[in-house]
């Protein structure tokens, strides 16, 4: 809370303000077509209309449904398969490089195939989101369970823990933070890929709505929706960070 802190906040405020002023000046002088860059006022107006009328609910519902389904599939499959692989050091040596190798392929390339098989409805987006989220979850689960400190395992075993107690009381709590990181990366990347694929081929969802407004030259509404999605994304990011911190409480 010193002068440096205040100066830094002032720089941030100045940056945001200058972007706003630049936007205002450019649009007010009328050199730029409103189809390309709508005025700040009209975007604010559209945003308020959007928020008041609640027209975003159906699209938001579709996108969140796709995200929830994709994340559910990816987290169950990822943690399950990750657990099975982590049980044997040999399986890790066989599967880990394979999964990491497949992870390096941009999964977005598969989207045309998914559309071919599953259509342009939510199913292809769920499949895409699940594919993208699966890899960070499975890789982190395997790594987390595998690299549990040997001292814990030895200590628990020497005190006569059963394999069930071993899993629930030693392995799981020790591996949890790493698994949680995988789940967070998975959720965020699934969200981004679902928005992305909705813009490519879809007939519902937030990504689709933005593209449709853009194609109808309703740029002010499109900007309002973009701001709305950015707010959703910030909310999702902070919710995930809070959940991660909550899940990590009591961890070193």
């Amino acid at each position: 809370m010193n002068s440096r802190w205040i100066a830094q906040r002032l720089v941030q405020l100045g940056f945001v303000a200058s972007v706003g002023i630049l936007w205002y000046v450019i649009t007010a002088r009328g050199n730029v077509s409103p189809l390309l860059l709508p005025t700040l006022g009209s975007v604010c107006h559209e945003f308020l209309v959007l928020a008041a009328a609640g027209t975003f609910w159906p699209d938001l519902g579709v996108t969140l449904y796709e995200l929830a389904a994709a994340f559910l599939i990816a987290s169950i499959a990822g943690t399950g398969i990750g657990y099975l692989i982590s049980r044997s050091g040999y399986a890790i040596k066989v599967f880990d490089p394979l999964l990491a190798g497949i992870y390096a392929i941009p999964a977005i390339l598969l989207f045309p195939l998914y559309v071919l098989y599953l259509g342009v409805g939510p199913a292809s987006k769920i499949a895409m989101g699940a594919t993208i989220a699966f890899f960070p979850v499975v890789l982190n689960t395997t790594a987390g369970l595998h690299y549990v400190d040997r001292i814990y395992v030895t200590a628990a075993r020497s005190m006569g823990a059963s394999s069930r107690q071993m899993f629930w009381n030693v392995m799981l709590p020790a591996a949890f933070p790493v698994v949680l990181t995988g789940l967070r990366i998975g959720l965020i990347s699934a969200f981004l890929s679902i928005l992305g694929t909705e813009t490519i081929a879809s007939f519902s969802g937030l990504g689709h709505r933005i593209v449709e407004l853009g194609e109808n030259m309703d740029t002010a509404s499109m900007f309002a929706y973009i701001i709305f999605v950015i707010l959703i994304s910030i909310t999702l990011n902070s919710a995930v960070s809070v959940a991660e911190r909550w899940g990590r409480r009591g961890q070193a």
Binding site: R4, W5, A7, Q8, R9, V11, Q12, F15, V16, L35, L36, Y90, K93, V94, F95, P97, L98, G101, A104, I105, P106, I108, L109, L110, F111, P112, L113, V115, L116, Y117, F191, L192, S193, L195, G196, E198, T199, I200, L206, G207, I210, V211, G214, E215, T219, M222, Y225, I226, V229, I230, S233, I234, N237
Partner: protein
């Protein structure tokens, strides 16, 4: 018994088995309009390699990827150093970078098309927007993690700011910088390919749409396979560079 097989061999066997199952099922049950066995995909790759338009499209996409990557690194390094070198700018500007980073870029894809057109420019711009953030963030982290002791001793021995930058900060930034390059490549691939699939005149996106809509599944599989191979080799190049250029750092750190 099973564990006697080297993991590498077991992995290879697994891949071959999966391909064999795919081949068998696709031939036996699959509709050739929707699924192609690997052997036909391979033939389609050879066939597509003779198609001048498709080769040109793949080449164009490679150019977009390389240009977007180079621009991301250049812009990311400049911004990263500007933001990261001083404590004041770091505190002031870094939160803005993070705020911009949380923007789901896919939602502003239509804007890129409106501003840059449906040609390669919009793909490059979209790829750059994905690629700069990993570079900025790793450069800032790298600059920040230079040991204060090294900076202080260099300064106390009378090093000029320029010498400090080139002889202390840069060498110590290299490991995290190359990690940033690898992450940037992954992001650029996502950005450029997403933009290609969204709308494309002459790039690969045009051909994936064409093949999917005309049910030429062997060509679609072949194109996806070729692009995946390109993506994997670009990623591997970054990984190799990372391993190559961070080695000295690790050895010197362990020696110290």
């Amino acid at each position: 018994m099973l564990k006697k097989i080297p993991p590498r061999l077991a992995r290879l066997t697994l891949i071959v088995m999966l391909l064999a199952i795919w081949e068998f099922c696709a031939r036996k049950f699959g509709d050739p309009l929707f699924i192609s066995p690997p052997s036909r995909v391979l033939l389609a790759v050879i066939h597509l390699a003779r198609d001048k338009q498709v080769v040109a499209a793949v080449g164009l996409t490679c150019w977009e990827l390389i240009l977007a990557f180079a621009l991301s690194v250049l812009i990311g390094l400049t911004v990263g150093l500007t933001v990261g070198l001083h404590r004041f700018t770091r505190g002031a500007m870094y939160p803005i970078v993070l705020l911009l980073y949380t923007t789901p870029l896919a939602t502003i894809l239509p804007l890129f098309v409106v501003v840059f057109g449906i040609g390669p420019a919009s793909k490059i711009a979209f790829g750059v927007c994905h690629g700069v953030f990993p570079v900025i963030m790793t450069v800032v982290a790298g600059v920040q993690n230079v040991e204060p002791l090294l900076l202080r001793s260099a300064r106390s021995m009378g090093a000029s700011p320029r010498q400090v930058l080139f002889s202390v900060i840069f060498p110590h930034m290299i490991p995290s910088f190359f990690t940033g390059l690898r992450l940037a490549m992954t992001s650029v691939l996502f950005g450029v390919l997403l933009a290609e699939l969204y709308v494309s005149q002459a790039g690969v996106g045009h051909w994936t749409t064409e093949f999917a809509q005309t049910f030429q599944s062997q060509n679609l599989f072949a194109l996806v396979a070729v692009l995946a191979a390109i993506a994997v080799s670009l990623n591997e190049m970054c990984r190799w560079a990372e391993a190559r250029f961070t080695r000295w750092h690790r050895s010197s750190a362990s020696a110290a």
